[in-house]
Symmetry: D3
Subunit: 136 residues, 6 copies
């Protein structure tokens, strides 16, 4: 019996969308307000979803207390109340779009979650804009 | 790397559920309050989801500013503050159920979004009733 | 010990904003899209709040099962799945703005709720637009 | 044309996570606060999703009035304002985790919904913890 | 300059509405499903609001990190994952209605918050039922 | 007949909490993660509430189309996708706490809204932290 369990978390961060290889004018034209060199920010909402078998004795697919701890260690500590461009190593070379943030979160958690579970990340940048990534 | 990006939008419209080929009594029995000949209405919430490859330079799957513009042109202009039965050509012959509205929205956007992106529509008629359609 | 208890309810209705005494052009200029002669509609959310003393034995300020029944009889039956302009007597002469709808709801419930309770109505026309009325 | 229609419902229940075969200390260590022998409780939110063909005449995939009635009979009556461990036969032997509750809801509704529709359950135990189950 | 700052928190608890002085039949008739002797439960949402002067140097009315800690100590520890009737001393003699829970929360926090701040509690028992209490 | 009408808006901004007159260590101790010199950010939600008389002819208290335009000009243009500390003149000398941001928004709108209307600002920094300010 395969089932999916999800845990929602939040982090508040500053960022700026900018491609190093492009000119200032190109960046401003492409990213608009999101290119502000002084940064802007968001309350990001992240939903971590694990798919796998339910343990027939405990009735747990995955202990959400442990999942919360992994999210705290890998995501909250790294992203919360941070400037994604300046404080997160990976975004010194990669543009911190909502797409790229979700891919990085997936990679960070994939290292910590047993491969017998499928992993999917849903990341809201605002209430109206969000992405989903499952590693495929 | 395939990812899904979504943009939420809203429109407020009146409608009435009614099948021309049925008698007044049949329509009333089948659709109940939704058959009110004077119409009722909803705040519709629509989520447009595109699945595709993330551009390795910009970090964008699809520019949400452009997606918002397409939604404004194709959906807001056509449905917002309208009577779906009277003001929308397609619903003069088709019953504007939440199912049929989602199919029409999918078709309208499919014409505007490059085929390299998969397209899915999620449409909420109320907070508690919603449909999903991906063209299959 | 004075306390306020609130119950949320919903109704879905069509309406049109229009002032009989104005010309068609004046109405269109003033009310814009809301003046569509074919109507549009909303999922209205109404919060009914009663302020009074908590009964020291039961621990109830007002039985919410009874409040729900009063709301069903006075508000749901009258407004849900209706056209406010055509189906609600009071709006044949008054413009069904969110302000005027909240005032009517307040009057309808005031007749049914013992005067020892203060009564306040909060009415959402959309998630982003709402009014509050307490009879003063 | 295959489409998915969903209906959201709610029930408020008490429960306790506990495995009969384990010692008191093992249960407390594994389930933590959720093992409180006096029970705790939740407002559960359940979303029932049916996937199938839209009827070309009515424009309905499934009549939501009927789906609501089935949910009321099978889920609300059985779970709402109940103690899952004491009042629900199936949880006298099975641990009422959110995973196991979703599986039971799926089974109860599968008996009532025509097999031509795929059935999926989404169950929120809190705003931040939820599961999805589709019978596979 | 007087301002109000609010912090939202949550706890999940079981309870039963029952008045010791009444017969079983009276309790069942008055409280209905809420009188289930086996208990039911809720995800309670509590909003703690402090009104006072903003400090002209720090720009803080009250440090929300400290407010969160006080709420954790006084409310979470006492109510979260508890049976209100059995685990909370005050509700062994008082009926744990949403009204009475809000009054108890107010008293517990009033002891911890400097009297120069006005204190108000908003407590949601479900998304649709809630109370407000400010000590008057 | 006095009534209150409200309009919700949003802006996404970066900020840092810091008092110039304090040492780096004092700021870090007092503001914690919020003192990150590289900034962090939020999706701010602002609710603008006007209280006044309903016009007996139009049924409007205040035209929400005009209120939206004023909010766009005074708040969105100034705060959205900005760094509050660097891009907003007033916060070069004042600490951009949620309290101080709400006071500034109130002042900016007070200049634009006729004094016959009472004005109140509700500002959410996160879903769980918010302030209310009405100029008293």
């Amino acid at each position: 019996m395969e089932l999916t369990i999800s845990r929602e978390s939040h982090f508040n961060a500053a960022h700026r969308l900018n491609v190093e290889a492009w000119t200032e004018a190109e960046n401003k034209a492409y990213f608009g307000l999101c290119n502000n060199p002084n940064y802007h920010g968001h309350n990001y909402k992240v939903i971590v979803s694990l798919t796998g078998e339910v343990d027939s004795v405990s009735g747990y697919l995955f202990d959400l207390k442990i999942l919360k701890q992994i999210i705290d260690e890998e995501i909250e500590l790294k992203f919360d109340h941070k400037n994604l461009n300046l404080d997160v190593e990976e975004f010194k070379i990669t543009n911190p779009t909502v797409e790229n943030i979700s891919i990085l979160i997936w990679k960070l958690l994939r290292n910590r979650i047993d491969k017998k579970y499928k992993l999917k990340i849903t990341l809201y940048e605002t209430e109206r804009n969000f992405v989903e990534y499952n590693g495929n």
